[in-house]
C-alpha cells in the first residue's frame, strides 16, 4: 500500500494517503517507510478486522475514530490531505546505512551474549551453538565459495541485506550444523528468507540426491520427526538465517498472527528415492535435475492434514486425499502430498497410477469445491479477484457462478507435487497446500 501511495505522489505529484487496519499501520509508517519506500506516507487507520464484517460495520468506521491519532476518522483523513508538511516530511536524499553491523560483536560473557542473541531475536529461542570465529571458519571449510560472496540480497521487508557466505556460516553454526551440511544450507540460503505473512505461513524443505545417504538425512521412519541430526540442523538453519538475514522480529516485521510451529524445523526431510515405485521419479528429477544431482527444494504454504489411519480399499486412498485437498484454498493450484512408500505402491499397483504425474493430473481433474468456498478465502480474494476483474479465465467465469456451483480449483497439475518418504511402517500420508519452488542445486555450493 505504501508503494502505491508513493507511486501516485511521485508520478502524479498529488498528495496520496493510505488507509490501513490498525494491525499493520505501525509497520507501514515505521519499518516500510524506513527500509522500503523512504516516504513517510500519512496514514489513517480503521479497526481490525476490516474485511468479513457486515457492511454497516465498515460504514460505521467513517463516523468512528482514527485508530492511529485518536481523532474522528474523517477529520484525520481531511487533516492528512491538507495539513502543511513538517520538515521531516520534506526530507529527500540518499539514506545513510543504518548503524553498520560489525563483523564481530563486543567481547562479553557467554551468559550476556546468549541474552543478547535472544534480545535481538537472532535465534529460535532454543539453545544455540555460539558462533565463535573459530567455529565459523571451520564451517566455511565446507564450501569452496569465498566468505564475502553474496548468496542473495534479502529485501522482502526492505533493507536490501546482503546475505553472504560468511553470514550463512554463522547461522549454520548457530543451528548446530557441521561443515558437511554447509553446501545444502548455502543452497537453502538462495531461497531465504522463508515465508512470512500475517496469514501464518509454514515451509517444507526436501532433500534429494545422493547427499541424502552421504549425510544420513532421514528419508524413512520418522522422516519428518525429531529423530535425525541432518534433518534437524539443516531445517533449523533455514529458520535462523531467515530471522537474521530477514531481520524478522515479532511485531516489528514478522506479523504472523498465529505463527507456525512448523517454522522451528520447516519439515526438513529427504525423499525416500530408493523406495519409489518403478516409474515414479524423484521430486528433483521431475523438476529437470539429474538423478545424481543433489538438490534442496522449498515449499511454502499453510496447512497439512494427515490421513490418521491406514489406507483402506473401502474408500481408495486417492479419493480421501482428493476430499482433503478440497478444503485447501488452491492458491496457485499448489499442493504437495507426502506419502509413505507403501501408499505410493498401493496407488500404483492397486489403482494404476504409473507415475507421479498421472496422480497429479487425476487430482487436478477430480478435486472439486464450491465457488462460494473458493471465493470465501481471503488469500483467494486478494490474489484471484484481481485476475477475475482483468477477465482472466477461469477466474472471471468462476466469479459469476452461484455459491453452490462446483469448480475444479487445482487447474495446474504441475503445481501438485508428490513426495515419497517414510519407513513402510504404516500406510500414512499428509496432504498439504504447500507450493514448491524450483529446487536449488546443492553441488553448486560445495
Amino acid at each position: 500500500m505504501s508503494r502505491w501511495a508513493k507511486q501516485i505522489q511521485v508520478q502524479c505529484k498529488i498528495p496520496a494517503i493510505g488507509i490501513a487496519s490498525d494491525n499493520i499501520v505501525h509497520y507501514a509508517t515505521g519499518y516500510v517507510a524506513k527500509y522500503q519506500t523512504g516516504m513517510p506516507t500519512r496514514y489513517v487507520a480503521v479497526p481490525f478486522p476490516f474485511t468479513g464484517q457486515p457492511r454497516a460495520v465498515d460504514v460505521g468506521y467513517v463516523t468512528g475514530k482514527d485508530m492511529l491519532s485518536g481523532q474522528p476518522f474523517m477529520s484525520a483523513v481531511v487533516n492528512a490531505l491538507t495539513t502543511p508538511l513538517t520538515p521531516e516530511e520534506k526530507l529527500s536524499g540518499t539514506g545513510s546505512e543504518e548503524s553498520m553491523e560489525p563483523r564481530l560483536l563486543e567481547p562479553d560473557t557467554e551468559d550476556n551474549l546468549r541474552a543478547l542473541f535472544e534480545a535481538k531475536e537472532w535465534t529460535d529461542f532454543n539453545s544455540i551453538i555460539l558462533p565463535t570465529e573459530k567455529r565459523v571458519m571451520a564451517m566455511l571449510k565446507g564450501t569452496s565459495r569465498k566468505p564475502d560472496e553474496v548468496v542473495t540480497t534479502v529485501n522482502i521487508t526492505g533493507g536490501a541485506r546482503q546475505l553472504t557466505v560468511e553470514k550463512v556460516a554463522i547461522s549454520a553454526v548457530m543451528a548446530g550444523a557441521t561443515p558437511d551440511h554447509f553446501p545444502a544450507i548455502l543452497a537453502l540460503a538462495t531461497m531465504a528468507p522463508f515465508g512470512n505473512s500475517t496469514s501464518s505461513m509454514a515451509n517444507m524443505v526436501v532433500i534429494n540426491g545422493p547427499i541424502r545417504n552421504k549425510l544420513n538425512f532421514n528419508c524413512g521412519t520418522n522422516a519428518t520427526g525429531p529423530y535425525n541430526k541432518s534433518n534437524a540442523v539443516v531445517g533449523r538453519a533455514y529458520t535462523v538465517m531467515s530471522k537474521t538475514a530477514g531481520d524478522l522480529r515479532n511485531n516489528v516485521n514478522a506479523w504472523e498472527t498465529l505463527g507456525s510451529n512448523l517454522q522451528y524445523n520447516n519439515i526438513c526431510y529427504g525423499e525416500n528415492e530408493e523406495a519409489l515405485p518403478e516409474g515414479w521419479e524423484p521430486l528433483h528429477v521431475q523438476m529437470g535435475f539429474k538423478v545424481s544431482d543433489n538438490v534442496v527444494t522449498v515449499g511454502t504454504g499453510w496447512s497439512s492434514i494427515a490421513s490418521v489411519g491406514a489406507s483402506q480399499m473401502l474408500y481408495p486412498t486417492h479419493h480421501l486425499m482428493r476430499d482433503y485437498m478440497s478444503s485447501f484454498c488452491a492458491s496457485g493450484s499448489a499442493a504437495t502430498i507426502v506419502m509413505d512408500p507403501t501408499v505410493a505402491g498401493l496407488l500404483k499397483d492397486a489403482h494404476g497410477f504409473q507415475s507421479k504425474e498421472q496422480l497429479s493430473e487425476w487430482f487436478s481433474q477430480n478435486v472439486q469445491k464450491t465457488a462460494g468456498s473458493y471465493w470465501g478465502n481471503g488469500v483467494i480474494q486478494s490474489i484471484a479477484v484481481p485476475f477475475a476483474m482483468q477477465g482472466l479465465e477461469p477466474y472471471a467465469s468462476w466469479r459469476k457462478l452461484p455459491d453452490d456451483a462446483l469448480i475444479k480449483p487445482f487447474t495446474n497439475p504441475k503445481a501438485i507435487r508428490v513426495v515419497v518418504a517414510g519407513g513402510k511402517v504404516q500406510t500414512m500420508w499428509f496432504v498439504t497446500d504447500f507450493g514448491m519452488r524450483r529446487g536449488a542445486k546443492i553441488d553448486d555450493w560445495a
Binding site: 500500500m1 502505491w4 501511495a5 507511486q7 501516485i8 505522489q9 508520478q11 498529488i14 496520496a16 490501513a20 487496519s21 499493520i24 527500509y35 516516504m39 513517510p40 480503521v46 476490516f50 464484517q53 457492511r55 460504514v59 467513517v62 463516523t63 474523517m74 481531511v78 491538507t82 495539513t83 516530511e89 529527500s92 545513510s96 546505512e97 543504518e98 553498520m100 553491523e101 560489525p102 564481530l104 560483536l105 567481547p107 562479553d108 560473557t109 557467554e110 551474549l113 542473541f117 537472532w122 555460539l130 558462533p131 565463535t132 570465529e133 534479502v154 533493507g159 536490501a160 541485506r161 546475505l163 553470514k167 537474521t244 481471503g378 480474494q381 486478494s382 479477484v385 484481481p386 476483474m389
Partner: protein, 103 residues
C-alpha cells in the same frame, strides 16, 4: 566456555540499507471543488473498501462544496502495480488520492 570469561562472537546481523528519502507531495489547502481518487487495493476482496469509500464520499459531499470522488479498483490487487491507474489519475488532473484498505 566458563561463565564469566569474556568471549568474542561473530555477528549474525546484516547491515541494512535505509531507503532513499522521498518528500511527500504538497498537501491541499482544502477539499472544496477537489477531485479525490479512491484507489481500492482489493485486499481480501474489494467489497469492504468499497463500503468505506462510499460512506466517506457521502461524508465529504455533505461538508465540501463541489468535491468529487472517483473509486477505482486496481487491476492487480495490492501486490502488483497498475500503471493504467497512475496514468488515469494523472490524466484526470485529480487533486489527491486515498489508497487502501489493507490489513
Amino acid at each position: 566456555m566458563e561463565s564469566g570469561e569474556k568471549i568474542t562472537l561473530m555477528n549474525p546481523a546484516i547491515t541494512a540499507k535505509v531507503a532513499e528519502r522521498v518528500p511527500l507531495a504538497p498537501p491541499l489547502a482544502d477539499l472544496n471543488n477537489k477531485t479525490i481518487y479512491m484507489v481500492n487495493l482489493s485486499w481480501e476482496g474489494p467489497d469492504a473498501a468499497n463500503y468505506l469509500y462510499t460512506a466517506m464520499t457521502e461524508w465529504l459531499q455533505k461538508r465540501y462544496t463541489g468535491v468529487k470522488t472517483i473509486q477505482k479498483v486496481t487491476a492487480e490487487g495490492m501486490f502488483g502495480g497498475d500503471p493504467a491507474i497512475v496514468r488515469e489519475v494523472t490524466a484526470s488532473k485529480a487533486d489527491c488520492a486515498i489508497v487502501g484498505v489493507a490489513g
